[in-house]
Subunit: 348 residues, 2 copies
C-alpha cells in the first residue's frame, strides 16, 4: 500500500478477504467488508447475524458487527476516513462501489488486485501443497471415469457424478463440471444438458473444486468406442501442443511465449484456427486468476506461479477436444500437478 | 430509462441479464455485458468461447463475441458512446465498474436496479407459478426429512442430503442449505460443520435452490427427541409471530409494519431481544431481493410482491429457532407458497 500510495484497502466478496483473514464473505445484499487503513488496524465490518461465522483473529483484524437498521457504508467510511486513494476488491458488487464512491467523493478508486495481486500470484510451498492436494482429488476422479459407462447417460447425469465425486473426494465446494458430448464439445464453456451420450461421441469433462481454499481444474477427453482417424489425429496434435506449452513454462519465460508454444504446435498441425481461446489461466484461491497465459501478456513467469495449460480445438456443430493440467513454475523447471493419464480414454 | 433519464443500461453477472434476455453470464474474469442504449438496439458483448452458450433472440438483442486479445471494455463503450447517465448491474464486478468509469469519464453511474427493480419486484402470474413450483420442491423435502434420522449424523452429511434432494427434486441449482444443530443454531447463517447431531439437539434446516430461474427458500425446525419446555414454549411463540407476519402482509401495508407485526409478537412473549434480524426478504430470480421486510422500509406491499416471513430467536452458545415461508401479496390477501407442516418435528 505504501509503494503504490493506497490509503485504504477494502475487501468484500471474492478471494482477497479469505486470503488475508481466513473469512469468506457471503455473496449477499448485506455488506461484509474488511477495511485495512494504511498504517492502522484492520476491521471487518460484518452483518450481526453473520458475525458468529467469523473465526476471530484479534492479531490480524477487529470485528465490527452491524445491525439490520445500521448503514454499513457509513461504518466502512468511518474506518477509511480521509482516504484519498482506495483499493477495492475486484469482485465487490457495483452497488457497494457506487455507494462508497458517493460517500468518499474525493477518493480515487482502483482495484484491490493492485495491492493483493503481487502477493497472491506467487504461491509459497504451503499453497503449492494445497494446489497439489486439490489436483490429486480430480486426478483420481479422471482415472475412475475411464472405467465408467457414458453411452446412454445424459450430460447432466455425468455432471452430477463428477460433482458428487469431488465432494466425496474432499473438495468443500465443486466449482464447475463441464460435460460436453458430441457437437456440444465444440462449445468450450458448455453447460450440461439432457442430451444423451451415444456411441461415436467425444465427451469433454472439465471439472474443478475447492479444497482448503485452493482450486483444482482438469480437463480429460473420453470417446465412446474407437475414435475415427480425424479425431485421434487431432487429439495426438493436442497432446503435442499441451506438452509444448508445459515444457515452455520455465521461470523467466513471458506468459505469451508459453501461449505461442502451444499455439504454434497446433498451427503446425493445421489446427490453428480451431484453437479459439488462450492457453491458460493462473489458479489459486480463484479458479481463474493471474497470470493469464495469453497473447499480449509479457509478464515473465516467476517461481511459484501456478497456471493451467489447456489448449483445445473446436469444430462448430461437430466436436471439440481440450486437454488441461495445472502446472507450477519451479526453479528446476515446470512441474505438472496433475498426473492422470493424458490419452484419449475409450469408454463404453 | 426515459423516466429516470438513463442513457444506457449495462447488465453483467446477476439476475438482471437473465431477466431481460434468458442468458446468464458466467461469473468469471472475461466480461459478459448486455448494453441497452436508450432508444436503440440491445447488444450482448460476450467472450467468443461462451458465445455458443447464448440462445439467440434476434428480436431482443444482438450478439457480439469478443476474442481473447480484444478489449471488451472498448466494445461496451462503443455501444454506449455518448451516454452521460449509465445504469450498471448491481452485482457487476468492481474491476469492470472502475474500467468503465475510466472509459466513460463524463458519465454518471447508478445501479441498474434503478431501472430493473420496479420491473422485477412485481411478479406476474407466470413468475408466481414458478415460485410456487420451486416452493413445492422444498416443501416435499421438508416433509421427507421428518422421517429421516438426524442423531449421529454430521451437519455436513444432512447438508449434503438436502442439496442432493433439491437437485433430484428439480432444482437446477442448490443455492444453500444451512444445517445448524444445538448451539450452532444460534448462528443464523451458520455453515455446516462436522459436528455430530445428538439427542436433545435442535436442528435448523434452511435451504433453497433455483428452478427455471426462480428461487425457493424454506426453514423448518427439527428436534432430536422431545424438546424441553423452554424450547417448545419459544417455538410456540415463533409460530404465533410468523403467523402474525403473514397475516399482516396485505396489499398496501408498509414492509416495516409487517416486520413490526412479527416482532411485536416475539416482544410480547419476552423474546424480542433474541430476534436479531429483519423479518424477511423479497425473492424471485434472486434468493434475496426487494422488497425487504425490515424496519425503515416504508414501501407498501403491492400485488405480486413475493417475500419470506422468517422470524427467529437465537441464544448464543445454546440454541436457536427460525420458521420461514415464502408469501405472495395478492388482491385477496397474503398467500403462503409453502405448505409443509410448521410444527417442531420430533426426529430420531
Amino acid at each position: 500500500m505504501d509503494e503504490i500510495g493506497v490509503d485504504a484497502l477494502l475487501c468484500s466478496v471474492g478471494p482477497d478477504l479469505p486470503y488475508l483473514t481466513g473469512y469468506e464473505a457471503m455473496p449477499l445484499e448485506r455488506l461484509t467488508m474488511l477495511v485495512v487503513p494504511r498504517g492502522s488496524e484492520a476491521v471487518l465490518v460484518v452483518p450481526r447475524l453473520e458475525a458468529p461465522r467469523v473465526v476471530e483473529r484479534p492479531d490480524v483484524f477487529g470485528v465490527e458487527p452491524w445491525d439490520e437498521t445500521d448503514d454499513p457504508i457509513r461504518r466502512v467510511v468511518d474506518h477509511a476516513r480521509g482516504a484519498r486513494s482506495v483499493a477495492i476488491g475486484d469482485q465487490t458488487w457495483a452497488r457497494f462501489v457506487l455507494a462508497l464512491q458517493d460517500a468518499l467523493p474525493d477518493a480515487r478508486f482502483c482495484p484491490a488486485s493492485a495491492v493483493t495481486g503481487p502477493l497472491r500470484v506467487v504461491k509459497d510451498a504451503d499453497e503449492i501443497e494445497a494446489l497439489r492436494a486439490a489436483a490429486h482429488i480430480v486426478d483420481e476422479i479422471a482415472i475412475v471415469m475411464r472405467d465408467r459407462p457414458f453411452a446412454g447417460r445424459t450430460e447432466r447425469d455425468v455432471h452430477r457424478e463428477l460433482v458428487e465425486r469431488m465432494l466425496d473426494g474432499g473438495h468443500e465446494r465443486a466449482n464447475f463440471a463441464i460435460v460436453a458430448s458430441g457437437p456440444n464439445a465444440a462449445s468450450p464453456h458448455h453447460d450440461p444438458t439432457d442430451r444423451r451420450i451415444k456411441p461415436g461421441d467425444v465427451v469433454l469433462c472439465d471439472f474443478g473444486g475447492t479444497r482448503n481454499g485452493y482450486c483444482s481444474d482438469i480437463t480429460r477427453m473420453f470417446h465412446v468406442g474407437e475414435p475415427p482417424a480425424e479425431v485421434s489425429d487431432a487429439y495426438d496434435a493436442l497432446v503435442v501442443a499441451q506438452e509444448a506449452g508445459v515444457v515452455a513454462a520455465t521461470v523467466g519465460t513471458p506468459c505469451e511465449a508459453v501461449d505461442a508454444a502451444a499455439r504454434s504446435a497446433l498451427v503446425d498441425a493445421g489446427l490453428g484456427d480451431a484453437f479459439v481461446h488462450r492457453t491458460g489461466h493462473g489458479i489459486g484461491m480463484e479458479a481463474h486468476e493471474d497470470p493469464y497465459v495469453v497473447t499480449g501478456n509479457a509478464t515473465p513467469l516467476a517461481v511459484g506461479h501456478a497456471f493451467s495449460i489447456e489448449p483445445g480445438v473446436y469444430f462448430p456443430d461437430r466436436w471439440g477436444l481440450r486437454l488441461e493440467d495445472i502446472v507450477v513454475a519451479l526453479p528446476n523447471g515446470p512441474e505438472r500437478l496433475n498426473d492422470a493419464p493424458r490419452d484419449l480414454a475409450i469408454v463404453g
